[in-house]
Subunit: 249 residues, 6 copies
């Protein structure tokens, strides 16, 4: 069940049986010569939809712009500052909490968001923690899950790409977008990208280390049919994880 | 050309011939008993894509959550605060300006966003205006267009719905979403909604004035084939308007 | 009744019969070769005083600096950023709401403030809308009225200046300031200003389009006696509008 | 020379001979049973005008709402938060610095503003101090002067009121407002107010300590002719101080 | 009793008999050729500890970075912006208020912090003052004491250094750090520093006026045994002052 | 070399040979029945000092209050909000970058800080990444290291405590504080703490899950002599890591 394709009366009925929601969160940033700029938003959106179809969970609109400051050396990348992203997540959660949602499951598509999402959760909780005891506001709980961070997806990545999947503009994520948007598959020759011996800092630094944008990946191996299998694997495990999250005491 | 479905190299080539981008901006809020919560994001997204197809303009990812504080009395509505929305727009524009974009055309789907988008433009310009003269940073220009605010769309609305189109959860916008998502057409009986004799204030006030969420509309008149015509009418006129914006000295 | 010329005990008594207040809001910015920099604050201040005299309404201190970023290319112009103006309006309203005011009528003198004032209202309402239902805080209602935006003022402008009133540094507003400050009438020859074929952006852009600061106006036509009539016309209609605002259910 | 009663061309000419400006800053807050709520804004505004008349200095529009949180227990008081006031001062100074002003002389009417004005100056300077050396932005200098804090005013207060002048809603400041607004003199019997043995905290605390709003004062002694002498004494000394400020190397 | 060396159960027991806490607040900034960069944090930390030992008061962790923007022309100086310092103080107080603390005694070591600390107190109080009456949140009270601003310390300074103590990098404060860190006494020849005839502004301005960082001081006179006496004198008087603060009705 | 115990001239000389600094960052929060509230600040402070002694690295003043919102259910815990902590880190880095520091090594003592520190780094980098290319500001690089996250410390923890070290109020960290403050060793009987089957959210939630504050630990096993070994092991490995960080191209 997708929030943007539902009516408010349908959501009201949903709340009678569940207080949970899945929120895809991604980024809009370069993904190398054959990767879509929307890759990190597309992947969690597609997988969240699959999880929603399987479990009946409500899926909120995707936060499609994340923390991508380090990719700004490449045309078309868009970032929000971490403090902006914190504000977005706070408002999103507060809006839904106002009408009874209590469990917020963020399905993430971008490693660069992880720290800021954690900070946002702490900022939200701090509002509760700093309140004088005795407030009767229902507590919210937030959790973060990276779509690729499940045993099944990891095994499949290994099986399909060995050590050529990489860490940015990966064969896996490019496959997922090829499955999701088969009309937008880009063909481009390239060798497996290298890895810098150190962490990157800002956008100029990133581009110096990774001239075509990729980190360690060979996305020429990507295939739409891989994408289909990756989505299925991730959705299955994320669905289990989401159900456990709702079932927590 | 959609940014999220392009590669950075494609965007780099696009910048050789155009400094402009169209950015759909909407809201995630109740749209009455048969309107989708995502209506205000769906409409500009669909129309912007049509404009992009027609003109070759690049279309950025949709800002799908806007200023919807007044709809929070209805389950599923999501808002960001105006100051959050200002920050989002600032970061979005600054990111693209960094790599050479200069003309930002926001195609808007939600009346409640208009004031805040105007404030955001002024906040962006103020950064330039407060700088000491002599900075060599290229100027950016931003403009706002509401998808429904064209002669053709207005005429079509009149033709199709007479005085029953209304101002929120309108027959027109519901038609556009029915055209865009024919599998999510909701059937629900209802009479034309009334209009309060005064402006609404916060969410409780809005719900008191408009108990099922609609303002003055009869969205049972919506039809997907109307949506198709409305999208075409809007896209045609928006495309002309966008081209004029780019052509400005 | 002017707030700054009253005692707190007088305000306490006022609150026994009215929860409303009129707040003039303007700007401090260039108004062409013969217009005062304070024009946009002077006009609503003078008219609000007249309305207060006529209706007994309390008039708060004028917010005399507004969003004037686009005028910073001319010496003496002062702006606050939109986010600063939002904070000012929020604090102003919250202060008076604390002691029982509920209806806030902003009488505006500057077109460039309209968007940001709207955003500020939404920011204020959002605090209420995001609160968990059941809070017993009395609701506030805010409204915006531009002093020139009444049938009588529009008719008078037409009668006095035909199509030479313009949109910035207008003959009308210069007349109001001549009536208010007869010792500060500036004499300066100039022709009617032109109009650019497009919207302005930041301060450099504005100055390029409008070299002496005016937009489309011929303020050599201004006369103090026009000002007197304009103030009277506006005050009469604003007073009616204010009374309706208070009378709303 | 008053900024709001000048044209931009007049200000441009002024800048050829002076980079300085005087900015009155006050507050809108209760001043006891016979003191005007606008007292703290009126006093520096009147005195700044006198200084301007005497020295030719440009006087900017008054910041009439200050930090008055502790007076919110009395109807009609209005505060901005300290962080809002810092933003106002930053934007005001940056606007004028953009066009060549370099020396900002804040003439203050409210003890409760002093700390926040100091913090605002540090916030402004921090922007310069944190910049990498080599920026060619001209430095600004800001200073604060309380209108009552001159030998002549202190002597006159002693002469006129002995130890009955007090610290809030003082006979001195009420006299100044009676001189400035002779039609708004309030007659009210009361005894000299007491003094609490400790500092006040928030608004409830202040009202508990000072039930009618005054601190240690007997404003029944106020007379408009005292006001005239106080304005003259302050203006003379402030003018000297301002000239020294401009003359600093 | 030092907070950082206590357990939560010890603090819980402490709260049964006292609602007060002492919070040292300083700065990290150049202190001339023989003064430690940590001087302004070390002094209140050492004295607060002595007060805690004497009175049983709880002493919180030192806020060791303050408003030092004007010292950034000298290597090793660190500042937080005033708005950052306000946020730190707000969060610190709110955290402890949450568990029952009500009286916050800030022992300050840096003149440049005074304005911002005052603004922070007003910001904290404003949250209470702007709340609708009837909230049952216990009020907090905050006070500021400069460690050097007691009769005993002033007398001792006079006795030890006559008019050579100065205002920055003073002989007194250097003595206190020599007492606290006898292994870090720096030996350096220099003459008494001069005093500029005007206030400093930003970091470049400060360095131009005070080339080695000192203001009017001769810290070659500093001795650890002076430091011991200064700490004792300050601690004795601060302890009395703190007890009075707690005893306030 | 400790920044707070150095003079600015010493720092200036240091900068001739190194652009790096180590900044301890911790928290002030409950650490169970026998753990000090300052534990998370003490550990990195002590270890950073050892690293500085060994390598000659400059060590900045400890950020001793971190993100501890989840511990506010226990008396004496103090938090700053994540957005406040981001501002602190930004200002700290910008201050030192102003004078030539380029490499910032944060040695962290608190798991709850990790996300926010990562967000702060991204916020800092975003300032660089959003700048128009061609700025000549030297880049900064920041890195985060948790003091316990080294092979040697992990091995020692295993050797000393087996599976009884836990994750909060650990035997390891209590040992380090016992070594650092032998006069403040707390004796308290308790059993090994349990572990909740899910993540905690806000302060009330944390306390419900962990009634005495510990997570999975048996800090009765802590000994000062363990602390000595842990500090040595961590310092050795952190020193290597820091040297690599400086040596990066």
């Amino acid at each position: 069940m997708q929030l943007h394709l539902s009516t408010w009366e349908e959501v009201e009925r949903y709340l009678e049986t569940s207080k949970g929601i899945i929120i895809p969160i991604g980024s809009t940033e370069q993904h190398g010569p054959n990767g879509l700029i929307g890759t990190d938003a597309i992947c969690p959106e597609v997988i969240a939809k699959a999880v929603g179809d399987e479990t009946g969970a409500l899926v909120g609109p995707t936060i499609s712009i994340g923390n991508a400051q380090h990719h700004l050396g490449f045309a078309g990348s868009v970032t929000v500052r971490p403090t902006t992203l914190i504000a977005i997540i706070e408002d999103y959660v507060a809006s839904l909490a106002r009408n009874g949602f209590e469990r917020f499951y963020f399905l993430n598509g971008h490693g660069g968001n992880i720290a800021t999402i954690g900070a946002a959760f702490a900022e939200i909780y701090a509002d509760y923690s700093l309140a004088i005891p005795g407030s009767n506001r229902p507590q919210v709980r937030c959790t973060l899950k990276n779509w690729w961070d499940t045993p099944g997806v990891q095994a499949l990545s290994k099986e399909l790409y060995g050590d050529r999947d990489g860490s940015h503009a990966t064969a896996s994520e490019v496959s997922v977008t090829q499955f999701a948007y088969p009309d937008h598959i880009k063909h481009k020759e390239m060798k497996q990208a290298g890895r810098a011996p150190r962490a990157f800092a800002d956008a100029d630094d990133y581009r110096k280390l990774y001239p075509d944008g990729r980190i360690g990946s060979d996305p020429t191996m990507a295939r739409p049919e891989h994408g289909e299998r990756l989505v299925a694997a991730s959705a299955r495990e994320v669905a289990e994880d989401y159900k456990k999250f709702l079932a927590q005491a």
